[in-house]
C-alpha cells in the first residue's frame, strides 16, 4: 500500500511529500517528492545585485539564515576579490554559532514532538526566543537578518551585547541538562530511538550525507576544523562525534554541538571585547554600495572596471556542509549562483535509511535528519 505523507502532514516539518510503500507496518520503499517550495532563488539571484542576494539567502534556509548568508558571502567575496576585516570575521563566527544554537533548538523542538513529547517543544522554543532576542539586538530581525555584507557585516555589535550574550549562554548551557533529562533519562525514548534509521559511514559518504548525520556514524569530519573559514582556526572547540549512526547518536551529536557552540561563542565574545575595529572593508567599490545606499549613478559609470572571477565556498551550517558557487563575469549581477544544501543529500539518502523500519519510526528518523525544506528546494 502506498501512502502519501505530505505535503500537509505533521511529520514533514515543511513542504514536501514522502511517498511510502508499506507492507503491514513495515516500510518497503520510499520516494521523497520535493519541490513544493521551489521559489527559483538561483534564477532570481541572476537579476539581483550582489548585496541583494543576501535577502534571498535568509529565506533559503529560514532556520539558519546567518549561516547561509555567510556561505554566500564567502563565495561572493572570493568572486569579487574582497577581503573582510578581522572583526567582521569574528562577528560572523559568533553569528554562525548563535545560529547553530537557535537552529538546533528548533530541531530539538520539532524532533521531540515527533516522538510524542510535548513539553520540551515549549521549553526549546522559549530558549530559542532568547537567542533570537540577541539576533534582534544587533541585526534588527528575528529570522531574516540581511546582516552580512559583501566585504564585512552591516553594523557593529551594540553596547552591552557581549554581557547580555554571556548571560544567555550561561542560562542555555544550564538548560541543556534539562533537555537531556527529558529525553535520555526516559526509557521510552531509548526504546523509540535506539537502533533505528541507521546509515553507516560508508553509505553516508556514498550518498553525500554530511553534518550531524555523518558525525553520528563515527566520522570525525567538520569543515570548521578541516577547512577553516572565518575565525574558526583561532577558536578552540571539539568536533562532536558519536557511534551508532542511529537517531539517538544524532541526538547526542547535536546536543554536544550546541555545547561546543556555547564554548565558541564565549571565546569570540572575549576577542570582540578586546579588539574594536572596523566591520566593513574600507575600500569597497562604489558600485557595490555602502551599507544602506543603493547602487548610484557612478556605479553604472564604472562598469568596465568590474572584476571577474569565480567564488566557491563551503561552510558547516547547522544541517551539514553547504556549498556555494558564484560565477562573476563582470557586472552588477552574478552570472550564475549555485547552492548545494546538505539536507538535499540527506533526504535523497532516505531510500537507504528508511526501508525496513516501521511506519511509526518515520517521524523520529526524519526528525533526526533535521529537515529544512527551504534550502532543499531553494
Amino acid at each position: 500500500m502506498w501512502i502519501n505523507m505530505g505535503p500537509q502532514h505533521p511529520m514533514t516539518h515543511g513542504l514536501w511529500n514522502l511517498r511510502v510503500r508499506i507492507e503491514g507496518e513495515i516500510i518497503e520503499e520510499v520516494d521523497p517528492e520535493m519541490g513544493y517550495l521551489h521559489r527559483g532563488i538561483e534564477k532570481i539571484s541572476e537579476d539581483r545585485h550582489y548585496n541583494e542576494v543576501i535577502t534571498l539567502m535568509d529565506r533559503t534556509c529560514y532556520v539558519a539564515g546567518l549561516a547561509w548568508e555567510h556561505l554566500y558571502i564567502i563565495a561572493a567575496e572570493q568572486a569579487l576579490h574582497l577581503e573582510p576585516p578581522e572583526r567582521a570575521q569574528y562577528i560572523r563566527t559568533l553569528s554562525d554559532e548563535l545560529q547553530r544554537i537557535a537552529s538546533h533548538l528548533m530541531w530539538y523542538a520539532a524532533f521531540v514532538q515527533d516522538i510524542g513529547l510535548m513539553t520540551p517543544f515549549l521549553y526549546a522554543m522559549r530558549d530559542r526566543d532568547l537567542v533570537l532576542d540577541l539576533f534582534q539586538s544587533y541585526t534588527g530581525a528575528r529570522m531574516t537578518y540581511e546582516y552580512n555584507r559583501v566585504g564585512g557585516v552591516r553594523n557593529d555589535l551594540p553596547t552591552g551585547f557581549t554581557d547580555r550574550t554571556r548571560k544567555v549562554m550561561d542560562w542555555i548551557y544550564a538548560r541543556f541538562v534539562d533537555y537531556d533529562h527529558l529525553c535520555l533519562d526516559s526509557d521510552i525514548f531509548h526504546r523509540r530511538c535506539d537502533g533505528i534509521g541507521v546509515l553507516s559511514a560508508r553509505d553516508c559518504v556514498d550518498w553525500g550525507v554530511t553534518g550531524p548525520m555523518l558525525r553520528s556514524a563515527g566520522v570525525r569530519r567538520d569543515l570548521r576544523k578541516d577547512r577553516p573559514y572565518a575565525a574558526y582556526d583561532r577558536v578552540e572547540f571539539d568536533v562532536a562525534v558519536a557511534d551508532g549512526a542511529d537517531v539517538t547518536a544524532r541526538y547526542l551529536v547535536r546536543m554536544e554541538e550546541m555545547r561546543q557552540a556555547v564554548r565558541i561563542v564565549r571565546q569570540t565574545l572575549d576577542w570582540l571585547d578586546k579588539n574594536p575595529g572596523p566591520v566593513l572593508a574600507d575600500r569597497l567599490p562604489r558600485w557595490l554600495g555602502a551599507p544602506y545606499a543603493p547602487v548610484g549613478r557612478e556605479g553604472y559609470l564604472l562598469k568596465r572596471n568590474f572584476p571577474t572571477g569565480r567564488g566557491f565556498s563551503s561552510v558547516e551550517e547547522p544541517h551539514g556542509e553547504a556549498q556555494a558557487y558564484v560565477v562573476n563575469t563582470g557586472g552588477e549581477h552574478p552570472y550564475r549562483v549555485k547552492f548545494r544544501s546538505p539536507v538535499f543529500a540527506n533526504i535523497a539518502a532516505a531510500q537507504k535509511y528508511l526501508p525496513g523500519y516501521r511506519v511509526a519510526d518515520i517521524p523520529p528518523i526524519m526528525g533526526s535528519v533535521d529537515i529544512c525544506v527551504g534550502e532543499v528546494d531553494r
Partner: protein, 201 residues
C-alpha cells in the same frame, strides 16, 4: 424556463409528485422516490421552523451565541509552508502562547476553521492548497500570513511562485511582514475575530 421548448427526445426523469408508471417496472425504485420525497420535506420543514422561531429570535439570541463561539475557537490547520511557519510555531510557544485565545492547531483539515497560509505558495502546491481549503467545513476563514502569501513577497517575479494566495482562495485577513512576528500573527487572529463579530456570522 427560458421559453424554449424542451427537446422532444429527452428521457423522462420521474421526480417526486410526477405521475408514476403503474405497469411494468417502475423507472425508479419505490424506496428512492420515498427518499426523494423525504429530501424535499426536510428543507420545507426547516423553512417552516425558521419562520416559527422568527428572524428576531434568531438574530438576537442564536446568532450572537454561535458567533461568539465561532470567533473564540478558531482552529487553524497545522501546516507549515515556509519561513512564516517557524514564526507560526513560535506563536504557539511559551512566550506568546496563542492558545490563550482558543487557537489550537489541528492536523486534519476536517477539524479546522482557519487556513493560515504561512509561506510562499508555489504553483506546484497550489492545487493541494485548494483541496485543503475545500476540505475545511463551512464556516471557514483564510489568513494570508506574510508577504509571500499576500503578494509573492521577494519571489513575486519567480516562475514558480503564486503572486498572492488570493489568486487561489478567498482571503479574509492579510498580515504584513517577512516573516511577521508572532505578535503580528496574534494581531491578525484578533483582527479576524473582530471581523467575524462585525459580519455577524
Amino acid at each position: 424556463m427560458s421559453g424554449s421548448a424542451p427537446p422532444p427526445s429527452r428521457p423522462a426523469v420521474p421526480v417526486a409528485g410526477d405521475e408514476l408508471p403503474m405497469v411494468g417496472q417502475p423507472a425508479v425504485p419505490f424506496i428512492e422516490i420515498e427518499a426523494l420525497r423525504a429530501r424535499e420535506f426536510i428543507p420545507a420543514a426547516k423553512e417552516a421552523l425558521t419562520d416559527m422561531i422568527g428572524e428576531q429570535a434568531q438574530g438576537k439570541l442564536i446568532r450572537p451565541v454561535f458567533n461568539w463561539a465561532g470567533r473564540n475557537s478558531l482552529f487553524p490547520l497545522h501546516w507549515g509552508l515556509a519561513c512564516c511557519a517557524i514564526e507560526f510555531a513560535a506563536a504557539f510557544g511559551a512566550r506568546w502562547d496563542a492558545e490563550r485565545f482558543g487557537v489550537l492547531p489541528r492536523s486534519s483539515p476536517r477539524q479546522c476553521d482557519l487556513l493560515i497560509v504561512n509561506g510562499t505558495v508555489t504553483w506546484k502546491v497550489a492545487h493541494k492548497l485548494i483541496t485543503l481549503y475545500e476540505q475545511i467545513p463551512e464556516p471557514k476563514w483564510v489568513i494570508a500570513m506574510g508577504n509571500c502569501a499576500t503578494g509573492g513577497g521577494p519571489f513575486r517575479t519567480a516562475y514558480s511562485v503564486v503572486p498572492g494566495v488570493d489568486k487561489l482562495v478567498p482571503v479574509d485577513v492579510y498580515i504584513a511582514g517577512c516573516p511577521p512576528r508572532p505578535e503580528a500573527m496574534l494581531d491578525g487572529i484578533l483582527k479576524l475575530e473582530s471581523l467575524i463579530r462585525e459580519r455577524g456570522e
